[in-house]
């Protein structure tokens, strides 16, 4: 009898075991959905897979009567643009201030306490203020993502910069590098993989902030649609939308990992010199 800790599944076994929880959830849903539908064929709460399929076709393939757009793609486009803008701006801010705070002592003593306090502000609490200051349109939605994500990236990247061995910075100076050259050739390339890690961890909060902002005032977007559908409990649309958002989040995560592997292969070699 071998010990449990030494047992390893085969390739197929690994795939099967990985798929099992998904299958169980689907089966449970199917069972309870069928039970409810047997009692009430118009049940809104747990629609049948076929009903969801029809809803998906309706939102993903047929133009909506009133606006003439195909809502799923319009919503996805609007949300992804907001997300990309928010994360892009947050990344730029995070990089600039992360490097400044991590590398330049004068910047650190000036900015670090402020950034520290700023990152403690719950971004959701700022939302009404954002709406009043920046209006109800795109700016405030993007700003919420930036405010929610940038302080974390700033602090994370500053820590990464501080973690760079002091020997490297001295070595670069003995090669004649100016502060700017050290930033451009030593610090920046080494924290880019950490930036991608930080971005991956920020994807979750970014989606949360996006959906919260879209729930308050908008005309399109994935969060907007979910909150609108909730108005009449259209779970046949809401559930596929939730699955779609999950899929988009997983894809973005995968893309970031691939970028990191391809562009920063050295960072995946294990401990550097």
């Amino acid at each position: 009898m071998r010990r449990l800790i030494n047992l390893r599944p085969s390739r197929q076994g690994t795939f099967f075991l990985g798929a099992l929880p998904f299958a169980i959830v689907l089966v449970i849903y199917f069972v309870f959905s069928s039970l409810r539908l047997a009692e009430n064929p118009a049940d809104k709460l747990m629609p049948a897979f076929s009903t969801m399929g029809e809803a998906i076709v309706r939102v993903a393939a047929e133009p909506e009567q009133r606006s003439g757009t195909i809502v799923l793609w319009a919503d996805t486009g609007a949300s992804l643009v907001r997300l990309a803008l928010g994360l892009g701006i947050a990344t730029a801010i995070g990089l600039v201030f992360g490097i400044l705070n991590g590398l330049i002592v004068y910047a650190r003593v000036t900015l670090a306490p402020f950034v520290g306090v700023l990152s403690m502000v719950p971004p959701m609490a700022l939302l009404p203020i954002l709406f009043i200051m920046l209006g109800l349109e795109e700016t405030s939605k993007v700003a919420l993502i930036v405010i929610g994500v940038a302080p974390y990236l700033m602090r994370d990247l500053a820590l990464r910069v501080e973690e760079l061995p002091g020997e490297q910075l001295v070595k670069a100076q003995t090669l004649g590098a100016s502060t700017w050259v050290i930033v451009a050739r030593v610090v920046l390339p080494q924290i880019l993989p950490r930036l991608i890690d930080g971005l991956r961890l920020s994807l979750g909060p970014a989606w949360l902030f996006l959906i919260a902002a879209e729930a308050i005032a908008s005309t399109e977007g994935l969060g907007y649609r979910i909150f609108l559908m909730r108005r009449y409990m259209a779970m046949d649309v809401i559930l596929p939308y939730v699955a779609w958002i999950t899929f988009l989040a997983a894809i973005s995560d995968w893309v970031l990992v691939q970028i990191s592997r391809r562009a920063f292969g050295w960072a995946h070699l294990g401990r550097g010199a």
């Binding site: 020997e167 490297q168 070595k171 003995t174 070699l269 010199a273």
Partner: protein, 254 residues
Amino acid sequence: MATLRVENLWMEYGAQTVLERVNLDVADGAFCALVGASGCGKSTFLRLLLSQERPTRGTILMDGQPLPQDPGPDRGVVFQRYSVFPHLNAVQNVALALEIARAPGLGRLFGKARRAALSEAEVMLADVGLGHACGHYPAELSGGMQQRLAIAQALARKPRILLLDEPFGALDPGTRTQMHGLISRLWRETGMTVFMVTHDIREAFALGTRVLVFDKTRHDPQAPGAYGATITYDLPVDRSTSKVPSASEEKSAP
């Protein structure tokens, strides 16, 4: 390539004195091995020579001029670890020194100039026995190979003084012997002035033309930090009699 003069140097951290009354005259092309017990201030002395720190009192003159306030290309350095850049492969690590020398503003060369720097760097790597590992990243190199790379990179800017901070301390004995051969040859070929911190007395006598021993001459049992170390022995070594591995031995695979 450079003379160095240290006059009445003191280094204090608050109430703790690390170095006191250090006086030293080093001739052009000397190989000084710095030895002493742990915490005796020999590494501090090296950091002062690097301008990584500034002395509390006293002056350091290089070729009669006060040392610049920042580290610079006149003084190269090899640390025990973290001397090379993990995001650049071997040839890029060495070429970086050339790129900075030739394009101080951007720190980056393009096109032809870049290719020229890369092929020069390949030659330099071949010279330290890394010709076969140009495309490897530091994480893919053994400890000895990483130090060869660090030395090639430090020498790329032809420093007048080379500072070595326990460069071979983390290597196994066989590799260490090969590195001794390498550094001796490079020292002889370039004529640089070398300062090497080591805790290995035999290494100090094998490589150095002078062995400088750091130690405290005064002790206060009530306040161990009250007095600092100074150079207690300054021993000249006759390199012609010391045993240094031959050039053929040095280049065998580490």
